[in-house]
C-alpha cells in the first residue's frame, strides 16, 4: 500500500546524508535534515551553489545512494522499493553512454532494462528520437555525437518509459538554444499531462521559465522551499529572472566554491 498523501509525488522527511571519505573516514554532510514535498503535476526546481547537496538529493531520491537518516517517499512508496523506479525517468548530470552503441541501440538497451515490453519499445524509440531531434541520427554511433546531442539522447532515454516523475539533473549542460527550447517544450508537455518534473539546475533562467515551485539548498540544508513567486516576492528587480537572482544571492553568499 502506498503510504504517501496523494498530492505529493515525492517527500523527504528529515533526510540527512553523511559521506565518509578517505582512509580516516572524514565526514562530509551532504544533506542535513531536509524536509520537503514535491506536489504532483508540478515542475519543481532545485537550486543552490556548488556542493549544496542538489545531486545527493536526487541520488537519494533514486536510491543511488542511501540517506544516513530520515525517510524518502517516492511515488507513494518508501524509496527502498525499487519497483517504483519503472515510473521514473532520470537524466544524469554527466553522461557516459557506451560510444559503441547507436542512439537507437542505446534506447533499446535502457528501455529493455526498464522492462518496457518489446513491441511498445519498438514504437516508442523512433517517437522519442523524433521528440529530441535525433530521428535522422538513430543509426549513428554515440561516439560521433556532440555533447549537446548526447544530452538530447539522455533526455530521450529519461522519457522512454513515459515516466510519472521526471528527474533532470543539469539537463541544459552543453545544449544550444534550439536544444534548450526543445527541453522546455518537453517539460511543459510533461506538466500538461499532469506529471511531475524535478529540475536541478544552475541556470536560473531555466528555473524561472519552467518551475512553479523551488527548493534552495545551501551547505546541505534547505534554505527555502515553496512557490517561485514567494521566493522572488521580496526582490526589487523588474524582470523575474533577475529577481530570482536577487533573491538567491543572499542565500548563495559565501557558499560557492
Amino acid at each position: 500500500m502506498p503510504i504517501l498523501k496523494p498530492p505529493a509525488v515525492v517527500e523527504f522527511q528529515s533526510v540527512s546524508k553523511v559521506y565518509r571519505l578517505g582512509f580516516l573516514g572524514r565526514r562530509i554532510h551532504a544533506l542535513r535534515d531536509v524536509t520537503l514535498a514535491v506536489p504532483r503535476g508540478s515542475v519543481f526546481g532545485v537550486v543552490g551553489p556548488n556542493r549544496a547537496g542538489k545531486t545527493t538529493l536526487v541520488k537519494a531520491l533514486l536510491s543511488i545512494c542511501r540517506p544516513t537518516s530520515g525517510t524518502i517517499l517516492r511515488l507513494g512508496w518508501l524509496a527502498q522499493n525499487r519497483s517504483t523506479l519503472d515510473r521514473v525517468g532520470y537524466l544524469h548530470e554527466s553522461q557516459a553512454f557506451p560510444g559503441y552503441l547507436t542512439a537507437a541501440a542505446l534506447l533499446q538497451y535502457y528501455g529493455a532494462l526498464s522492462f518496457i515490453p518489446a513491441g511498445e519499445l519498438a514504437r516508442r524509440i523512433p517517437q522519442r528520437l523524433e521528440q529530441v531531434g535525433l530521428a535522422d541520427r538513430a543509426r549513428e554511433p554515440i561516439a560521433t555525437f556532440s555533447k549537446g546531442m548526447v544530452q538530447r539522447l539522455a533526455l530521450a532515454q529519461a522519457l522512454l518509459n513515459d515516466p510519472e516523475l521526471l528527474v533532470l539533473d543539469e539537463p541544459t549542460e552543453g545544449m544550444d538554444l534550439v536544444a534548450r527550447k526543445l527541453l522546455h517544450d518537453v517539460v511543459r508537455h510533461h506538466k500538461a499531462e499532469g506529471k511531475t518534473t524535478i529540475l536541478v539546475s544552475h541556470s536560473l533562467s531555466d528555473v524561472e521559465q519552467l518551475c512553479d515551485r523551488v527548493a534552495v539548498l545551501r551547505g546541505g540544508r534547505l534554505a527555502f522551499s515553496g512557490a517561485l513567486g514567494e521566493l522572488i516576492a521580496g526582490a526589487t528587480a523588474d524582470d523575474s529572472a533577475t529577481a530570482l537572482q536577487d533573491a538567491l544571492e543572499p542565500m548563495y553568499a559565501g557558499a560557492s566554491t
Binding site: K59, I64, S83, H92, P98, Y100, L113
Partner: protein, 333 residues
Amino acid sequence: MTLSKFVTTTAWLVRDTFRQSLASGLCWLLLGLSTICILVCCSAGASGRGSIILPGEHNGNFLPRFDREAHDAQKLKQSGTIVADGTLSLAFGAIRVPLARDAREAVHFVQLVLSAGVADTLGLLLTLVWTAGFLPGFLDRRAIAVLLAKPIPRGALLMGKYIGVLAFVLVQASYFVVGTWLALALRTGIWDASYLLSVPLLLLHFAIFFSVSLLLAVCTRSTVVSVFGSIAFWGICWAINYGRHSVMAAAAMAPEGSFSPGLVRLANLGYWLFPKPVDLGRFVFDSLGAESNFRPLFQNLPSVSMGLSIFTSLLFTGYVLFAASRHFRRVEY
C-alpha cells in the same frame, strides 16, 4: 525481482558485453588467435604405422618408439611386436616430428598443449587481463548511475555482467576447442571427444578467477587492481594447490613420524579453502590420458577427487560473488 525480469536483465547485459567486446576489438583478437591455432591444426597430419593404431585397436604388442625394448630387433621380430615408426607433421609437412607412441597419443599430446598450455594458461591469463577492463568501465560512476536508477536490484546488475563475460568466454573457448578438435580429427582421423571436456573446465577455471576480478573491480573500480589482483591470486592458488600435493607426496614417502603434521595440516587448510587451478588442469590431463605424455609431472602426486575439488572451488567462487554483490549493494555512487 521476478525470474523473468532477471532473465531479461541478464540477456541484455550479455548482449551488451558482446557488443563491448566487438567494439574493443577483443572479440576479434581472441577469434583471430584461435583461428591461427585452428589453422595450425589444419596443417597437422600423422603418418606411418603409428597412425593406423586407432582407439580400441591398441594391443599389448605395440611399443613406443623410444621404449628401451624397442631396440631389441631380434626379440621384437620373434614376438611380432609393432614399434611406432610414424611421424606427426605440422605446417603441411614442413615440420616433421617422429611419433613417440601411436597417432592417438600424438594427437592427445597436441590437444594437451592446446588445452593446458595455450587455452588454460596463456588464454586464461590473457582473457583475465582483457576482460578485467569490462567491469571498471561498467561500474564507472557516470555510467552506472543511469542503470542504478532502473528498477533492477544491484545484485542482478552485477551478476548479469558477470554472466555476460562468462558467456563471452564460453563462446571463445568453444570456438577454440571445437575448432582445433575438428581440424585435428579431420586431418588425423582420430575422433576422440574427451578433448571437448576442456570447454566446461576452461569456463569453470575462468569463472573462479574472474569472480575475484569482479570483487576487486567493485571494491576499487580500478582496471589495474582487477588485472594484477586476479592474476596474483591465480598464482597464489596455483602455488597453494601444487604445494599441497607436493607436501602430501613428500609426507607419504617420508619415514613415519619424520614429517611435520603441522605442515600437512597447513597445506590441507590452504588447499581446501582456495580454488584449485592445478587440479582443474589435471582433469584435462586425465581425460586425455596424459600420464603417458607427462609422466614426471604426475609421479608421486596424490590422487584428487574431481567432484570435491570442483565443489570446493565453486564454493569459494560463490562466497566471492556473494561478497562482491553485498559490497555493490552498499557502495555509494
